[in-house]
């Protein structure tokens, strides 16, 4: 939001071209844990596997560190889909973080479904540090599904009402 005006013209063109389904490319944010999925994505890289370029990774120590609000914020920022990925059950670097995350997201998912979000826009996977190939499958599949749904116009329509007003209180506090 804050940097929209600083993008290169090329970038802007690219994104402008992607407004409608014509030439539109899905934008997906992935929240992944540092120990399994991030490393699994590294392995996909070192194995030179190819996948679609629509996903942007945000790294956290553990899926248990992912607050559902982060996901809400990603949608607010224009994401068409969100992926959460971490260690397989039993493999968590912090022993139980992914188990807690599993419960939290099982519920959050239901809530999002209940308010009318298509669940292909909110997906979950276990990808271990050894599963480079699985990471590729997951990314391609998530991307294809979100592509099939088209832009998340419902959510993005909510934003059109909105004009960014700098949060003066926040600025004050930081100063």
């Amino acid at each position: 939001m804050t940097t929209a005006d600083s993008q290169s013209s090329e970038q802007e063109q690219r994104r402008e071209g992607a407004v409608g389904p014509e030439g539109w490319e899905p934008k997906i944010v992935a929240f992944v844990c540092n120990w399994c999925t991030y490393a699994g994505a590294d392995l996909a890289g070192t194995s030179r596997l190819q996948y679609q370029p629509n996903v942007r990774i945000i790294k956290l120590p553990c899926t248990g560190r992912i607050d559902p609000v982060f996901i809400v914020r990603a949608y607010e920022g224009g994401a068409d889909g969100v992926l959460v990925s971490g260690c397989h059950p039993g493999d968590c670097h912090y022993s139980s973080g992914n188990y807690h995350a599993r419960r939290r997201f099982a519920l959050f998912r239901k809530l999002m479904e209940f308010v009318g979000v298509d669940l292909d826009r909110l997906q979950f996977s276990w990808v271990s540090a050894a599963e480079g190939a699985k990471w590729v499958d997951v990314i391609n599949d998530v991307t294809n599904r979100v592509r099939a749904l088209g832009p998340f116009t419902e959510y993005q329509a909510l934003s059109r009402w909105w004009k960014e007003v700098p949060d003066e209180q926040a600025i004050e506090q930081r100063a």
């Binding site: 940097t3 290169s8 370029p53 990774i57 945000i58 120590p61 560190r65 920022g77």
Partner: protein, 667 residues
Amino acid sequence: MARIGVFVCHCGKNIGATVDCERVAGEAAKIPGVVHSENYLYMCSDPGQLKIKDAIRDKKLDGVVVAACSPHMHERTFRRAVAEAGLNPYLAEMSNVREHCSWVHQDIEDGTAKAIDLVRVMVEKVKLNQPLTPIRVPVTKRALVIGGGVAGIQAALDIANGERDVILLERDPSIGGHMSQLSETFPTLDCSQCILTPKMVEVASHPRITLLTYSELEEVDGYVGNFQVKIRKKARSVDMDVCTGCGVCMEKCPVKKIPSEFNVGLSMRPAIYTPFPQAVPNVPVIDKENCIYYIKGKCKVCEKFCGPGAIRFDQEDEIVTYDVGAIVVATGYSLYSVGEKPPGSTIAGYGEYGYGNIPDVIDALQFERLASASGPTEGHMRRPSDGAEPKTVAFIQCVGSRCPEKGITYCSKICCMYTVKHAMLYKHKVHDGDAYIFYMDIRSGGKNYEEFVRRAIEEDGVVYLRGRVSRLYRKDGKVIVRGADTLSGTQVEIAADMVVTANATLAQPDSQDVAQKIGIAYDKYGFFSEKHPKLAPVETNTAGVFLAGACQAPKDIPEAVAQASGAAAKVLEMFAVDELEREPTIAVVNEDTCVACFFCKRICPYSAVEEKEIKDRDGNLIKLVSHVNEGLCQGCGLCVVACPSKSIELLGFTDEQLFAEINALAE
């Protein structure tokens, strides 16, 4: 305003081929707060690092983003370089434009666009990075080893020989563990006690080792480098300093008929006893449950005959406390019983084997005692019911193991090999006898193990029958074994003189209590969990606590010893420094807004969250808040998410940083 430097690496062609690095650097320069941006062929090379250092100094950078490979590869490198230039290393971050970008995309437009996004994300994060210092904790250079079996003995000796103090804790009256009960060991057939006893003696005489036998762990407090342990020294009723170990008390004790634990019920012992003649320490204990004096209030025969006057009927349990820096857990295993299911257990016995009530059906440990030269039969093969030499012996493997029906799904690992050994020992002792082994698979992976199996079959004539045994019952003084051989597809019935069951290896029945006291994880069978199954098999999830031997999973002697030495090396590694340094990724609580609901405390996998009282100057409680012990916190961030009032931050991954990252991707 921030002063961020962005450094884009080509990694030769590795990144440069599918990411236009110049354009990435150019775009980065336009991000508000970025005051320096450049690209270079190899950022991790010395000249590359120098560019970063120079820019830090020249442009007075307060944050660095290196767009290169995975941080798992070079984060340390760049943080070190940044630190050398005088900037706090935690103000540097990496954007992974190689593994996550150039290597996985072919189109240069796609790769470049994604790389720009990835850089933007990290720039926004670094703007909010705070200088952090690694957590430093002092180390008490004394170790506690729990369990005096072969693993514990080995770990204690290795640490002590590394010139560090060790407390070796054993709950039985003597150290030695299961290994001291064994006759010979596979695959070399050397005598178990002959190789173990010297080590036991060395433990007793080592100046660096404090040996606490007949003692149990009460409580563990503190964290890595700074544990406080409480140990209960049970009353022996014998003064260790006075007793000479002459053994007269044991001879004179009028109680004679207590089944010997050491001989697994195959012989009897008195109420005052040492478990076996080579016990270390060679000081008896009085078994209060069976001692006539303790039951009826009179007897004291042992006291009358004790020359040095070492008997102390009034001795009481004593609690001692030690500060230790590291703990090695080596509590060993227990053996499955075919007897009836104990109340509350999920593990049932074998009704089809008569629940252990058939006299000539013995378990593997009993066979070890029968075969041992120092055992109740002095090594002669004599079956328990009538003392006759058994001429037909059936050995049954996988009793309790690989048997979900009775509660245990795993393979006990050591039974295949010790059963071969048993059959071989039997054949060596009874030349005209027949040995049959009922097995499902022969798992003989190990140095010289398969050769050992072949030797038993080819040279000693041991007969392997592939199948489980469905039923055992007694008929005319024999044990009828109803089994099968699936290779020939036939039912097999053997009228055996004796049957030996290779019972499953279980976790110690109280392993969960021990784990909870120490604060380590355990699996559903009660075995302790290692930190990582591949790369950290000796460590636990609790820093400063290490595992050795069969308390982690079934293991044979060389594996237990190897892991014990590994644990000792880990301890000595820790003790090589005066202070431990840990990543500063830890959680901190905002006490002003904390409402003391303690969801954080409930969810923390490391029990790092404590309740803290905030008091006024007069000592009156104002409120309760939570507090994160930085020695215990591992930085997972579970508490941060669980906190309803958002009063906890995870340094290095603060909510503000993460929102900034997400916002950087917004349109």
